[in-house]
């Protein structure tokens, strides 16, 4: 097995045209596409324009605080305890926290906040497209929230969110932001009031789709095309090895190997491993050189590189399985046409998988189809890791890739000729 592997690596390393195809061509394309489509990429990878949100605060904070103080006095709570509770209540005031949240640096990049005195002027601004949504804070909002936290009142309150069009991306983002805030608020207030464990704010009104707002930088064109070209040209590794297997058969080298009593399964496994190792090396070289020359993944931490290695390894195994399948098919059919067909098919896979351009810019359905292609699923996995997702979050896509690999290997074993070896 080791000798077969070593031979594959040695023969490939001595073939300049194949080395150029596997390493230099993707690198040239990364350079060209990275520079040429840089602006386009930056727009498409960050489709969220800065939106404007209006806030209408109907409550009277001082009045709410006085009422809370009265309630605490009526409960005959010792003065010092009462003072502590009031201080805590002020610190967990939901409206102050909401405003602080919406005016934070991270949110400022995607959402600008504007205060309105009354709901009518806010609604007019919404109609005139001056803002994309209104957060209306009702009377007694803070008071009810405090009561809920301190006295375990069953009454809850909520703020209203009005948007022009719920399907608009900014509206979705706004709803998600508020959901995130509510969840975070409830958690923090529970921690602050350590003797209370209840979650208080009702966020039932905020029924927008939950999306993750990454604090990572958006993916730039070099990052995108390093991954895109990497996963695309990995197919070439598979087709080159499979084409070599066919040549081995044509020139009777395969027969010569079989005459040494090497088992057909060992030969097939060696092709799988050759495809895996060479793809891993190929992608590693592309990523490292892209980082050294274009600074593509510069400054990323160790966990990022570990996650990238895991995805690369899984994809390399998949390419190995495709290599073994193509090897079996070409040996079985006594024709290199399968390899040729697959080579031309890889361009379609590359398009659907998003190697040339992010497919979500075309339609959601193409993106869905793309994520069912091996390269598309892996490309999305890489991009998600770059956007700060955890490996566990991209695992469904990787499991899909592993399942494809299993299917390819089973077919490869089934198809591989075991009796007619010449």
């Amino acid at each position: 097995m080791f000798n077969l592997l070593k031979k594959d690596l040695l023969t490939l390393s001595k073939n300049k045209s194949e080395m150029i195809e596997l390493l230099l061509t993707p690198f040239l394309l990364i350079s060209i596409l990275g520079f040429a489509l840089g602006n386009l990429m930056n727009n498409t990878s960050s489709p969220i324009e800065t939106g404007k949100i209006g806030i209408v605060n109907q409550q009277n904070y001082e009045e709410d605080l006085s009422r809370l103080e009265e309630d605490l006095e009526n409960e005959n709570i010792p003065k010092e305890t009462m003072k502590n509770l009031l201080d805590s209540s002020v610190s967990i005031d939901p409206i102050n926290q909401l405003k602080t949240f919406l005016r934070s640096d991270e949110i400022k990049e995607i959402m600008e906040v504007k205060d309105f005195d009354d709901i009518k002027s806010a609604e007019k601004a919404l109609e005139n497209d001056e803002i994309q949504g209104i957060i209306e804070i009702p009377k007694e909002f803070s008071y009810i929230t405090w009561r809920n936290v301190l006295f375990e009142d069953k009454a809850t309150t909520n703020f209203d969110l009005k948007v022009q069009d719920k399907s608009q991306l900014n509206a979705v983002v706004l709803e998600s932001l508020l959901n995130s805030f509510v969840e975070e608020y409830n958690l923090q207030s529970s921690i602050a009031m350590t003797d209370k464990e209840k979650v208080n704010l009702d966020n039932s009104n905020n029924n927008g789709k939950m999306i993750n707002i990454s604090t990572e930088d958006p993916v730039n064109s070099f990052q995108y095309y390093t991954i895109g070209m990497g996963v695309f040209f990995a197919f070439s590794t598979g087709t080159i090895i499979a084409a070599r297997s066919y040549r081995e058969k044509e020139q009777h080298v395969f027969a010569r190997i079989m005459l040494t009593n090497t088992s057909p399964n060992t030969y097939l496994l060696s092709k799988l491993l050759s495809g895996t190792i060479l793809t891993f090396l190929q992608l590693g070289i592309i990523f490292i050189f892209s980082t050294l020359i274009f600074g593509t993944f510069g400054g990323k931490d160790v966990s990022f590189w570990i996650n990238m290695m895991i995805i690369t390894f899984i994809y390399s195994l998949l390419i190995g399985s495709i290599t073994s399948l193509l090897t079996s098919l070409s040996l079985r059919s006594n024709s290199a046409s399968n390899v040729g067909f697959f080579s031309s098919f890889t361009a379609a896979l590359a398009f659907l998988g998003g190697s040339f351009t992010p497919v979500e810019t075309f339609s959601e359905s193409i993106k869905t189809i793309g994520n069912w292609t091996p390269n598309g699923a892996v490309l999305t996995s890489y991009l998600q890791i770059m956007l700060g997702f955890d490996l566990i979050e991209v695992m469904p896509l990787l499991i899909r890739v592993i399942a494809m690999m299993g299917i390819f290997v089973i077919i490869a074993i089934y198809v591989f000729p075991k009796r007619r070896l010449n």
Binding site: T11, V253, T260
Partner: protein
């Protein structure tokens, strides 16, 4: 030692090999002679365990080789018609790779490589990539790989195709030496009858997937004991002269050649006189006549009605 019994290979509806029976004794050199497409390579593939026959079998020392192909493979050295090597790699790298997958290791492997390189006289070029070798050198290293594991039987499928006469003679001499000195059993296929004549103790003639004749060189030629070959050179080919030849009952086979005709004829003293009469009638001049003993080529022509290289 090795015996093919009723071998048949059918591809779809076409019989590539049809009821072939042949045997090889230990230390013998046996030739399989036939034109391209006669079924020689398919027969060899079956004998070397690479292709199970659709009917019949091959026995090695009385045991069916297809029951346990892996048991006979270590005894076989196969030289395919193609250069079955990695041409990006050097001769040494190729030999090392094939030696290792044969299970040879360490000093034993080094010694074997050295031995076969010396045999094919490529020691000084061992580090050159095979793709930079001449056709003859490629053929030699192709043979060296087959000898690496000291096989008992060397099966060679047209090992001299496409090389110059000097390289061909070199390979033939080397194979003859291996057979005579090392007692290596040889099965040699070719469509060059002079190679088979020079190299083989016994010959099987194959055409259309069948063995049409077999025996020693002399036995095969004796098929034509009552015949002889006459090569007639003429100043110009003439239809009337050809017609006269065709009408003569003593002439069994006529082959038009560049400068005249090659005739296989029943031995007859009168025929020479007749030939000159035909020439006179046809207004052509016979510029030369050669009477030859029959060759294997003539035997093949007699048996199949066509030349070996047709």
């Amino acid at each position: 030692m090795l015996e093919a019994q009723n071998l048949e290979m059918k591809y779809k509806n076409k019989l590539a090999v049809d009821n072939v029976n042949l045997y090889i004794e230990k230390g013998e050199s046996v030739g399989l002679l036939g034109p391209n497409g006669a079924g020689k390579s398919t027969t060899i593939s079956m004998i070397s365990t690479l292709l199970p026959p659709t009917k019949g079998t091959v026995k090695y020392n009385g045991k069916d080789i297809f029951d346990k192909p892996e048991s006979i493979r270590p005894f076989l050295g196969v030289v395919p018609q193609e250069i079955a090597l990695y041409d990006e790699l050097s001769a040494l790298e190729n030999l090392t790779f094939f030696g290792k997958i044969h299970g040879l290791r360490g000093q034993v492997l080094k010694d074997k490589i050295q031995k076969v390189l010396e045999l094919v006289e490529l020691t000084d070029r061992k580090k050159d990539a095979v793709k930079n070798y001449s056709g003859g050198m490629k053929r030699r290293i192709n043979l060296a790989v087959a000898l690496l594991h000291d096989p008992e039987i060397l099966i060679m499928d047209e090992p001299t195709v496409g090389i110059d006469p000097q390289s061909r003679n070199y390979i033939l001499d080397m194979v003859k030496k291996l057979n005579k000195e090392k007692k290596l059993t040889i099965l040699y296929t070719s469509h060059y009858m002079e190679e088979v004549e020079k190299l083989c103790d016994r010959i099987y003639i194959m055409d259309h997937g069948q063995i049409v004749a077999s025996g020693t060189n002399e036995e095969l030629k004796s098929i034509l004991t009552n015949e002889e070959t006459i090569e007639v050179s003429v100043n110009v080919h003439d239809d009337h002269f050809t017609e006269c030849l065709m009408n003569n009952q003593s002439i069994n086979q006529i082959t038009k050649e560049e400068n005249g005709y090659r005739l296989i004829v029943s031995k007859s003293e009168e025929l020479l006189v007749k030939l000159f009469e035909y020439a006179k009638c046809s207004n052509i001049v016979i510029t030369g006549i050669q009477i030859k003993k029959p060759t294997l080529e003539d035997v093949f022509l007699h048996l199949t009605g066509k030349k070996l290289r047709d």
